[in-house]
């Protein structure tokens, strides 16, 4: 497992063994890959046809995802051009705590960047550094509800352990969190 820099001093991503791309790059590629999205929404048709997403068609779901991914990507490109301080403020406004009820910033928070059903999952270290562990199209209320989102929860834990084992973050002050 490797840590790669995305831009600036505050945004990083995990690159898993055997993967050709780091997670940050992989998710933005997937969300703009028509073939990937068509298969994903075809396989998860029931989740977009249950009323919560207004019974959106597979075609519209694909186009919506593509549009949202582009908007988020443009926002992040703009952020990459700014000063370190502005980048940090920008990242703080994009990433929200994984548990919406939480208000306190912990040493190692699980955070998410949110845009409709798109999610980018990250660990926040020392309030100023985000390490992206993965991302998903979250169509259900709980991450545990679907295999692909549940896997992201596991990835967060794996990466958290990796950072501790490597001595990158201190064990002290780390708060264990669980999705309800």
């Amino acid at each position: 497992m490797d840590i790669v820099s995305i831009f600036g001093k505050n945004l990083f991503s995990i690159k898993y063994p055997g993967e050709s791309k780091d997670e940050f790059n992989r998710i933005f590629n997937s969300w703009q890959d028509a073939e990937y999205l068509e298969e994903f929404f075809e396989n998860n048709k029931e989740d977009i046809n249950n009323g919560f997403w207004n019974n959106i068609s597979v075609e519209d779901a694909i186009l919506e995802t593509y549009q949202c991914a582009r908007e988020l990507e443009s926002k992040l490109i703009e952020l990459s051009k700014k000063s370190e301080q502005e980048q940090l403020l920008g990242l703080d406004s994009i990433f929200k705590l994984l548990h919406d009820s939480q208000s306190q910033i912990f040493t190692l928070d699980r955070s998410k960047a949110k845009l409709t059903w798109l999610r980018i999952y990250a660990l926040r270290v020392d309030k100023n550094t985000f390490i992206v562990t993965g991302g998903a199209i979250k169509l259900t209320q709980k991450m545990q509800d679907r295999e692909h989102t549940n896997k992201e929860l596991q990835n967060l834990e794996t990466c958290r352990n990796f950072l501790i084992e490597q001595g990158i973050v201190d064990v002290e002050g780390i708060i264990e969190e669980f999705e309800i």
Binding site: S5, D22, E73, S80, T129
Partner: protein, 148 residues
């Protein structure tokens, strides 16, 4: 004593290719958006025809006499398609992928742009002639350029 941020920076020796690739996507956003939409339409049609005539990406590639890798690039929405390719796909799948609208509003915008359209020889970018011609379509008449 180093902070966690400094330790992470030290560990992260590689920079992601995301920014480079994202900027490229942004630079090409107009045509890639169209390419993406076309890809979605093709994929949905392949799926629709899967049961009726066992259509697959491979079968489409064979019918078009191109490699399956090329079709895979097309259906990912990352290929700058030519009109020839689009027409071939339309014929094989029996669908319409692009249409050129001839509505009044778009004509009105283009009229001034095309009023004195110049022909440029692209090889040396030298202006070789300047001309315009009239084209009648229903009740509309506008001038545009031509390169033959």
């Amino acid at each position: 004593m180093k902070t966690a941020q400094e330790r992470i920076q030290k560990t992260a020796r590689i920079t992601s290719k995301w920014l480079e690739e994202a900027k490229l996507r942004q630079d090409n956003k107009a045509w890639t958006k169209q390419s993406f939409r076309i890809a979605v339409r093709i994929l949905r049609e392949i799926r629709n025809q899967k049961e009726s005539n066992r259509m697959t990406q491979k079968k489409l590639a064979e019918a078009m006499e191109v490699s399956p890798q090329y079709i895979n690039k097309v259906v990912k929405g990352k290929e700058n398609l030519t009109l020839e390719t689009i027409c071939k796909i339309e014929q094989i799948l029996g669908i319409k992928l692009i249409e050129v609208p001839f509505d009044k509003s778009s004509m009105a915008i283009k009229m001034t742009e095309f009023a004195s359209y110049s022909i440029v020889k692209r090889t040396n970018a030298k202006l070789i002639t300047s001309e315009s011609w009239e084209y009648n379509h229903s009740d509309l008449s506008y001038a545009t350029g031509t390169n033959g």
